[in-house]
Amino acid sequence: MREVAIVSAGMTPFGELWQHSLKDLFVEAALEALRRAEADTVDAVYVGNMSGGQFVGQEHLGPLLADHLGLRGVPITRVESACASGGVALRSAFLEVASGMSDLVLAAGVEKMNDGGDVTNVLATAADQEAEVYHGITFPGLYAMIARAHMATHGTTLEDLAAVSVKNHRHGALNPKAQFRQEVTLEQVMASSLVADPLRLLHCSPVSDGAAAVLLCPLERASEFTDRPVEIRASGLATSSMALAERRDPAFLDAVSLSASRAYHMAGLGPADIDVAEVHDCFSIAEICVLEALCFAERGRGGEAARTGETALGGRLPVNPSGGLKSKGHPVGATGIAQVIEIFEQLRGEAGERQVKDAAVGLTQNMGGSGGSSVVHIFERG
């Protein structure tokens, strides 16, 4: 396999972007990534998108998006793994370059969630329709069950959950692309309205529109496009049971653990080598469980990390310096690529007020459904 680098990135702001369509968003992000690298065309494109069909009634995104990007004729593949679609699109692009099949490949993600679709029901298609959704469960409900199991098994508290939201909003307040650029207090989080007990509104990532794109090429060609490439050291993808009921320990995310161990093994690195991470905090409890599955925290102890400041900017291991899904926003298909862009900027020293000092190795973790799929990538300053 060839060594692969990311050489440029482009991203729209995240938020309720009523004036922009799905294809507008994609073109804005993709064009920025191409222009920054001064690349006229690419050999292939992978685009992560969870549900264009249900959010805006648009399938067959490949030709539509290639055409509007001015790349009619270029091979383009739409990749779907629910909220992990973006991360899996990056993996697909990585494999195409690493294999030697193509040199210049764009990995993008896009989601247009605010266009009148029934968001609760569309997101619920990432759960098992017959075994779960039929009975009245929602996505916040599934993560609320994970939270309650974590609290019952490990003694995690409501304050632990709220501390994740407080930390990520503090980070997101520094991010010009974030949907919510304001801090929230522990009291505000704990007094916000109940969505699915014990999860409240301020434990939940928002409904967002947005797109993100990164350009990949062989590491040996990276200097043609940038003087500061970021190498993709590893890619790990894994699955678990779709239905939460089938997991022996609902408080542990097996797919995250497996995807992480594959990535650590491939990179020849371990959790102690990571300087900065972007992880899938679709709900506050998710970040807590993910920290444990990535071996950043001992099993059962993930709730302490945000509360003690360990995962805040300036802490031992800053997690979600972008503001995470919670504050930055969560346009589901774009999220996995946006995570990669934050790490790309961190490792290039371009993160401004959010910069993690001397960051050399970064990790992203992107998850689908209630943890049915997870993809982990590890990056190193080139």
Binding site: N121, H135, G136, M145, A196, L199, L244, A251
Partner: protein, 139 residues
Amino acid sequence: MPSPRYRREVPARYRLEAGRCAGCGAVVYPARRICPACRGERFEPMTLSRRGTVVTSTVIHVAPAEFQMEAPYAMAVIETPEGGRLMVQVADCDPNDVAPGMEVALEFRRIRKEGKGGILCYGHKAVPARQGPAGRRDA
């Protein structure tokens, strides 16, 4: 949900039909072709008991459109004595009283109304287990 899809699910939803893997003994609900634990393909048909224990739970406050009239309502993953696990609504109690470890009975109930015609869809809901003179009433 189109009616063929609904009918396919009837054995599991109405009768709690499951399978016990002949190779490793895992209980699989609803029945499927390949055992998720050992990849065996031989199963003994069985039905789950109509009782169980709450593994984890939540109270849904923001509900899907078809369930809005019922909110807030409790949902739980329950485990039957055979080891089968299923996602159910927990009814006939204060939803805030539902918590891990709670003993429940499963009852055949209406789950939802679908579409413009309001087609009735059935399945099981859990209710708090009650101790009576003859033991659990669900036995």
